[in-house]
Each structure stands twice: as structure tokens, then as C-alpha cells.
Symmetry: C2
């Protein structure tokens, strides 16, 4: 059973992606959408809020909403799971465990995962036949056994862990920066040492807030980029119009 507002949001999104509402155009008013879908205004507002959060639509008090983009920007799953992202975008991809062992956690890992022992896994991932990603993940000990049970060439660890243990990765914190390739990175990716890599460090937790893994993913430059669409609305500027008449 999908919620009413989700169906309305889906309808609207589809219209936007189909070009019914081109970029820069105005969306129908809440009242009109409410009438069209025979829903209360609150429900329509909830639907539009979804699109605003996705960055597809811009909204400000008093003016009609406008269309900001027409590309589907997608979900947590894509950001978290290389496999889900690659599959959703129709890429050929693969993965291979290079090294896997239990060891005591580093100071950072101990603080993040709160574990006495972690399962350290080194994976290499490929896209369209080319190696693009070196993944170093430390799993909390309570999930280690399930990870060890996976085949070394497991395509999607996220999905495999869900199937085998019902584990759901629900929240993540990500740090993105650039680093030069180390000796091991260079060998695994087939590039020169010191080449630029896009690094994504993350900590993932379950719904209950229990930390699951702590990972350091390094992408070959040019293979992958991160995209963000955002707006002032979520974090309003402190200044207000009115300075306008006096300022310069």
C-alpha cells in the first residue's frame, strides 16, 4: 500500500521527467493539484515536499513552484552500494575480495564501531570491465560471520547481507575528499602511484543506530563523480530583504 502523497509525487515527477513541465516552468498550484487528485491540500504539500527534497523543484512563499531539473537524482541505496548504483544505471560491474582477515580495530574504528575486533575486507570493484574502485571495509564483529560466509566474488554485499541476515543499512555518514594513490591502490587499479583518487569514507548504521561498517572507498579519477542538488530553503540565509533599499 503506497501512500497517497507518494502516488501524487510519482505522478508529478513523471510529468517533469517527461517534459510536461520543462525546466524553468511553473508547477500547477497546490489548489489545482489538490482538485486534480481529489486530495487535501496538506497531502499535496507533502507530495511536493518530496520533489523539493529531491532537488527537482524549487519552492518559495508567495510564488508558484518552479522546475529546477529533469534528471532523476536517486537514493541512499545508490550512494551506499556500488552494485545497486551500477545496476540502476545499467552498467556492467563486478567485484572481488583480495584480502579478508580479522584484526583489532584502529582507534578510529573502535570509536565508530564500538567493537573489540573487526573484520577487515579489501575488495576491488570494476565498471565496464575496468577496475575503478578499491574498497577497504571494517565490519563490526557482530556481522563478521555473515560477511565471511559470502562468496569472494559477491556482486552486492548489501543485498547478500540483507538476504542472509535481514541486515538493512539505514543511515550513513560520508566524508569525501581527494588523495594520491598509494602503492597498493596503484597496483590494484592499474594506475601510477600518486595519481588522484576520489575517496569516500563512510560509517553505516542500522535503523537502531547500531554501527555496521566503516569503509574507505577510493575511485579512480574520472570514473565516478558525486552530484548534489541543493537549495537555500533547507538552510535559510539569516539576512532578509529590506537591507536592499539601503545597501549601496
Amino acid at each position: 500500500m503506497v501512500a497517497r502523497y507518494e502516488r501524487i509525487a510519482d505522478d508529478l515527477r513523471e510529468e517533469i521527467l517527461a517534459g510536461v513541465h520543462p525546466v524553468g516552468a511553473q508547477l500547477p498550484s497546490e489548489a489545482e493539484l489538490a482538485a486534480r487528485h481529489r486530495a487535501a491540500r496538506g497531502t499535496v504539500r507533502q507530495a511536493v515536499a518530496v520533489l523539493v527534497a529531491e532537488g527537482l523543484v524549487g519552492s518559495r512563499q508567495g510564488a508558484r513552484r518552479i522546475v529546477l531539473g529533469n534528471a532523476r537524482s536517486q537514493s541512499f541505496a545508490e550512494l551506499h552500494s556500488f552494485a545497486q548504483w551500477a545496476r540502476a544505471n545499467g552498467y556492467r560491474f563486478g567485484g572481488q575480495v583480495i584480502l579478508q582477515r580479522r584484526r583489532p580495530p584502529s582507534a578510529v574504528e573502535a570509536a565508530r564501531l564500538g567493537a573489540e575486533e573487526v573484520l577487515d575486507v579489501l575488495r576491488i570493484r570494476s565498471l565496464e570491465g575496468e577496475p575503478v574502485l578499491v574498497e577497504r571495509t571494517a565490519y563490526a564483529s557482530w556481522i563478521a560471520a555473515a560477511v565471511e560466509a559470502l562468496p569472494p566474488d559477491c556482486e552486492s554485499v548489501t543485498e547478500a547481507l540483507y538476504d542472509s541476515s535481514g541486515l538493512v543499512f539505514a543511515y550513513g555518514e560520508h566524508l569525501i575528499d581527494a588523495v594520491p594513490a598509494g602503492a597498493q591502490d596503484a597496483r590494484l587499479l592499474g594506475i601510477r602511484r600518486g595519481s588522484p583518487l576520489l575517496r569516500q569514507r563512510r560509517v553505516t548504521t542500522t535503523y537502531e543506530g547500531r554501527p555496521v561498517e566503516c569503509s574507505d572507498d577510493r575511485y579512480r579519477a574520472g570514473s565516478v563523480a558525486f552530484s548534489i542538488r541543493n537549495s537555500l530553503v533547507a538552510n535559510p540565509l539569516v539576512r532578509r530583504a529590506g537591507d536592499l533599499h539601503f545597501g549601496a
Copy 2:
């Protein structure tokens, strides 16, 4: 006049940051919060939604909300404006225009800005006295004159343009990846050619959806990282495949 739900959200955020609700702990129920603040449940829900969107709090049906983090994540202003980010974090910073000229737009810029001519500005930015950022921005012609009127060592272009023209950067689309430093990058940042740089390309528009600028910012590795906190429910960040013609 601040909205009621914003005050409630601020209160809650403050409590979380102060450690009243430590990471992993449960938040008071909506009913309790409503009683405490003498507000309707809907208002409280709106307040909590803010924190959920910020990634501070996790929420799922049936269970009490839990605290996910105790650090504020990046705001739009911080992501958009180097100066505002640096100031908010208490860093010493500076800026200097290296080159500024009008020129015809590239194909990409023409498509994104819809202009016949752009103002091309090359800026270098420093943090704690060290040069960390090379900024190449193409401004749409309708704002070019205002940009040219700014002093070459203008600290915050965003704020200066707001003061002089009432211009507000409202929406942004950002692409983040890693690239090797070119000859000019290397010279300006005082690093070796080929060193890793964290690149943030962005297009910014006004409230009306009118494109203002198209920029290519390159950070020295190690100087800056982007941080994102997300959940299964909502997240703003998306991964994109390489070979990225910007915005296509």
C-alpha cells in the same frame, strides 16, 4: 518572526549538540514534545522533520526516534560560498582575482547559462595563509557588470553581490570528483603538477531559476573534505558515472 516549529527544532538540536540526548539515545515522543512546548503534534512533527533532514535524527514508524549524530552538517551557504564556510568555522581566509575578462561561452556554459557572453574570473583562495583553492567562474552576462565592480581582493563574492545587486544564490547543482593538477593549478597552489585536487563544479541559479554562474573549484588535497549524512528516507547526494560532460 521565527516559526514555531523552527524554535522547537532549534531547542531539540541544541539539546542534542549539548549531549542531553547522546548519540544512540531515544528522543522524547511526539506527544511528550507537544505537551512540553504546548504545540500541536503536527507542529512538532515539522520540527523533528528538520532534524531528520539534517541527518541528526533517525525516524521509523512505530519506534521512538533515535539520535544519529551530534555535529551540524554542511549548509547550502557553506557549500556554495567558500567565505561563508570558512567564516562559520572560524578560519582565517582570503581571496584574490588573478584574471578577469569577458569572452564567448563554451558550449557547456552556453547551454547552462543561456548567455551570448560570459565574464570569466580566475580566483585564488587561501585558508590560514595557505593557498588551497583555485576558482574558475563564468558569470552570466546580466550580472557581469556587478562582478566587475567588485574589488579584486573581495572576501565574499556571494555577500558582495547580495549587497550591491540584491542577488541571492538560491539553488545549486554540484558535481564532485578528483582531478590531477594542471600547470596553472600547480603554479597557483604551489604544488606539483599531477597532484590530486578535489574538484567541485557547480551551476547556481536564482530563486526564479535563472542561472547565475558556472564554476570549477579545485581544492588542494587534504585541505577540505565534503561531509554528507544521509538515510534510506532522504538524501541529496548522488553518484554519477565518469566521462562527465557537465550537466548533460
